[in-house]
Amino acid sequence: MLTLVGMNHNSAPLPLRERACFAEEDLPAVLSRLLAATGASEAMILATCNRVEILARAPEGVTPAEAIKAFLARERGIEPPTLDSHLYVREGLHAARHLFAVACGLDSMILGEPQILGQVKRAYAIARENGATGPVLDRLLQHGIAAAKRVRTTTGISRHAVSIAYAAATLARTIFDDLSGRSALLIGAGKMTQLAARHLVSQGVSDLKVTNRTYSRAVPLAESLGGAAIAWDAFAAELSRVDIVLTGTAAAHPVVTKALVRDAVRARRGRPLFIVDIAVPRDVEPAVGELDGVYLYDVDDLQGVVVAAMDERRRAAEEAWRMLDVEVVAFDRWRQTVDLGPTIAALSERLHHMGEDELERFARRLASLTPEQRAIVRDLARSLIQKVLHTPIVALKSAAARGEASARAALYREIFGLDEPRPDAEGAGSGPTHAISGGKDE
């Protein structure tokens, strides 16, 4: 039985998530304590700033959810009632589905954010290296990680920008071939402007000029971004040269006017100029956006891009869920085949025991045979049992491939009485004999 106990940004407030979170270096020790405390045979812990998830696999019949909750409360020193109201429990395939969704970023605060997949991989690596995983979690995680990659590339759930600073860089990349080596002009030293500038620099923009009405404030900012500070009255000349302009002053009136940019545009001869105005009130006259080759985006426009991106991601998420359900079914089929192991073993054991019992019953009447002949009779019985077993086992496996394993296995257990205690050889031979002859009549 797979069990997942966890909390995320929806179920628990940040202070509680902080308290429940495990440090990565503690995980090996925590995992071994977890396995010992809950009776689980396999386990993994995913602990990030937005979620704590404990995934465990317990032997058939053991449901470790309560034990895991108690373990978490004990480990992190949180009162069980508080913890309980912020935890969710998923069992069986629901646990698998939840894990797949987490890996895809479908359960993330920012839908489709890509870091979570790396965190899942890391959590799995730690669990595996410390021997906490086994066949089922290995399969589940490998399957889930591969599925998450597939979902991301086919649905585009992680494709569009979802923050203003990121949206500015994304838009720049739809205009310019390559941002590396591009030039940018930064007007003003506001926080948002800095953030957007940092995004551009991280994308390769290398020629950066920074200006501010107070020159002394431009200098440290220019230094921290690896650019050069220029005097306030020199920025107009830069407009005809740079590729990107970022503005974010506290000025009450526009500082970049249409007249100023028109002159620059004439000199640019159609070379695109991308202007991002993050200031409120705006720094750039809206009419600047009408000029040929000038693409002006203000805060609302960027917000619009972000909203559109979120819509795209939501649409992609619907498709992602559909894909995930298919993956969950595939995992379930595999799990069912694995679950057949005990049934098949019990079936084979039961029939071979019957054979042994019958041989024993006939032992006196076979006493007159030579040892060689007795061996032949024994082989005959065994071979007959193998033949009888063959077809039902093949049928069971193919039922598992169709996803019907558990119903079919239950039927077998009932027909062959696999869940009843094995009748003693003494005097109880008629039951099993009957079962076999019934099979032969069909």
């Binding site: 001869r269 159609g270 040929d292 619009g304």
Partner: protein, 262 residues
Amino acid sequence: MARALLAVALSVHLLGIALAAIGELTHRQPLARAGALALAAAWLLELSTLVAAGLAASAFPLRTGPEYLLVLGWFVLTLHLALWFRLRVRAAALVLPPVSALMILAGVLLAEPPSPTSTLTTQGWFVFHTSIATAGVAALAVSFAMSLLFLIKERALKTKRSLRVLTALPTLEALDRLGFQALLYGFPLLTLGIATGMVYSAAVHDRLWIWGAKEVFPVIAWAVFAALLWARFARGIQGRRSAILAIAGFAFALLTFVGMVR
């Protein structure tokens, strides 16, 4: 038989257009690839019909305007496939395959028997003239496609509405550059096409210049492209105005066929 084969080719062509366009717009790589493969199949089928037609008539199949359109459409598709498979320029899938399909369709619908004078058309000089001119116009079609995509992308950037268009198309700079590069191939071929046409005219009609659509429109197109090249090389103009000129020039180049269809 040839028409039936061409009908099959066109159907495959249309299927390829649909798959490629949906694939590009929705970022579905397998669909886009299936579309490109269907277009490649259409390309082969169309080539075989052209060869079959040429063999049946034992002539170079560029005798009439409609035949010219067939070959031009095939040529445009050739360039598209080269762009797609070699240069990985994918967004052209939205323009070039439909343009080439329209040319082929027009060629099929307007098909006419070659005029009696067409016995001359087997001459090597004529073959040279028509092949050069067709290749030139096909390259200009690529320039047209990139310019059209440039204007669409430009508009999307200005109106700030369609994020999908913004992310589906190549960058503004790439569209501008590719349109210009195609022009650098198309313009010399067009020039050569016009010059060889004059020589041919002089040989057949004993006149260097005839006032007809077939002659006037290519020259207007040539003038537009010449102006565009001058603006780009001498003045460093790029972007929207360059794209509009490239589209106008291509429109004039296409009008040539008005003069070829009786």
